[in-house]
């Protein structure tokens, strides 16, 4: 008596013995790995699945409903190993170059074989400083995606630009062949696996597109799988960071050190204060060209002033956040089911307290009262400028 597993091949259910199922899965996994980088991978796999399904069908009948292990093995032998026919006729993109040939060995050797991957700037094909190019090579993804991500980050408070400039300054550029190899070398095992899974899941999702039920099921599974991989990825990145820098925060809040109960809210308040003041300064700088009536580097161009302000805010926040993390072990993840709600409540409370404290001094209230007319004024000037065009 053997256990039977149902599988879905191209929209039809087949029942296989457990051993046969394992053999088939191993065969299809190997095929998928061999076809890594082939643009028609999904289609070829679908063709192969359909061919296998056809062979199953010819075996089964009214009196035989299960494919036994031996039959699966025979069919796999009949199919023959899947070989990628495209002998790299078109030049693969620079990021794929390192991966395509090296995809066959399983990516489990703690970061792949060969050179450990390092982050470099790569000038070949770079648009500005080669930062995006280097990142794309490091994570083995399309450089266009990295550029789009940076463009988005620039809109999010200009952090993308700041990050870019920082990386431009910090990252060494890959100039020797050895450095180039290291820039393209094996990435973290988890990251590679994550990207492979994401790609695979995407193809599978495309295949189930017509079937609503199957698609929903795929979506659910894909999401949960991605969440799992993301968690692993975060954990690995955190471990690496901790290896470099002992002060890196652990995951869950550790038992508070003495005095943490007072230090933590004070630090949070300070950070919030920096945030709020920074936000007001930024709004005022954008609206009027200086910070609340005070001149701010008036001899610099406008964009440089905005960038400098953002830089100052980040510089002020960074040490505060680092201290808070070391005092309280501020986690990055989801801390318990009520974490989100608690966080929002705390924020509302803190903002309320800040307003209450400053309310007594008048100046803050005045500036709040004056903010709407200032904004109106800014909007008017923009409208006027627009009308002049």
């Amino acid at each position: 008596m053997n256990k039977v597993i149902s599988i879905n091949l191209n929209g039809n259910a087949y029942q296989l013995e457990e051993g046969g199922f394992e053999a088939l899965r191993a065969y299809l996994d190997t095929a998928a790995r061999r076809l890594e980088g082939n643009p028609d991978k999904a289609e070829i796999i679908a063709d192969i699945e359909q061919a296998i399904a056809g062979k199953f069908r010819s075996l089964l009948g009214a009196n035989k409903t299960v494919v036994v292990e031996k039959e699966v093995e025979d069919i796999i032998a009949e199919m023959g190993p899947v070989e990628d026919a495209s002998g790299a006729p078109e030049a693969p993109p620079p990021g794929a170059a390192a991966q395509a040939p090296g995809a066959a060995p399983a990516p489990d050797a703690g970061g792949g074989g060969g050179v450990p991957r390092r982050l470099f700037r790569i000038h070949e094909g770079a648009k500005i400083g080669g930062v995006c190019n280097g990142l794309a090579a490091y994570f083995n993804i399309d450089v266009t995606l990295v550029r789009i991500a940076f463009a988005f980050l620039i809109f999010a408070w200009g952090s993308g630009l700041l990050l870019y400039i920082l990386m431009w300054v910090i990252l060494p550029s890959a100039s020797t062949p050895a450095e180039m190899a290291a820039a393209h070398g094996a990435p973290s095992a988890t990251a590679q696996e994550f990207i492979r899974r994401a790609r695979e899941g995407y193809y599978e999702g495309m295949r189930t597109f017509g079937d609503k039920q199957a698609h929903r099921e795929w979506k659910r599974r894909f999401k949960s799988e991605m969440r799992g991989w993301k968690r692993d990825f975060h954990r690995e990145m955190n471990q690496r960071a901790r290896a470099w820098w002992p002060g890196w925060g652990p995951w869950a809040p550790h038992p508070a050190t003495s005095g943490a109960w007072i230090a933590e809210p004070v630090l949070t308040m300070l950070i919030t204060l920096v945030n709020i003041v920074g936000m007001i300064a930024l709004i005022s700088l954008v609206a009027t060209g200086d910070i609340l009536g005070m001149g701010f580097l008036p001899w610099w161009p406008f964009w440089a002033r905005i960038l400098t302000l953002i830089g100052i805010i980040c510089l002020l926040r960074c040490p505060l956040k680092a201290i808070r993390r070391s005092v309280y072990g501020w986690g990055y993840g989801w801390c318990g089911p009520w974490g989100g709600l608690w966080c929002i409540l705390k924020w509302v409370l803190i903002v309320y307290m800040v307003i209450w404290i400053f309310g007594g001094h008048g100046g803050f209230h005045d500036s709040l009262y004056h903010l709407p007319p200032r904004l109106h004024h800014a909007a008017d000037s923009v409208r006027q400028w627009w009308n002049q065009q």
Binding site: I44, D47, E83
Partner: protein, 108 residues
């Protein structure tokens, strides 16, 4: 090393030519191609043929259309494109040349 083994890589390289030839004769689906090749020295397997067909389609040598079959799900029927026919003609010519060379070389 037997002759059969020595010719492994040559057979592999020629497979595309033969597949072009099979498809040129008639609209066929993958199992037809395998079936026709199985009676020759070029017998091959799905694991090799499907990636090859997809590569040939990407190079616009062949094209396929889905057709209903009375036994089972619809099948992909392959046919040659103009480019595929041109390629077949060129390869056949080249093959003739190789044949001629083989015949004539070493003869006085």
């Amino acid at each position: 090393m037997s002759v059969n083994e020595k010719f492994t890589s040559i057979r592999k390289g020629l497979l595309e030519f033969l597949v072009l030839k099979v498809i040129a004769a008639d609209k066929v689906y993958a199992a037809d191609i395998l079936n026709q090749l199985s009676r020759t020295e070029f017998a091959t397997q799905e694991g090799t043929l499907y990636p090859l067909l997809s590569k040939m389609r990407r190079e616009e040598l062949v094209d396929y259309e889905w057709k209903e079959s009375d036994a089972g799900p619809p099948r992909k029927y392959y046919q040659l494109t103009a480019k595929g026919r041109e390629q077949l003609r060129e390869t056949a010519e080249y093959w003739q040349k190789i044949n001629a060379t083989l015949r004539n070389l070493g003869q006085p």
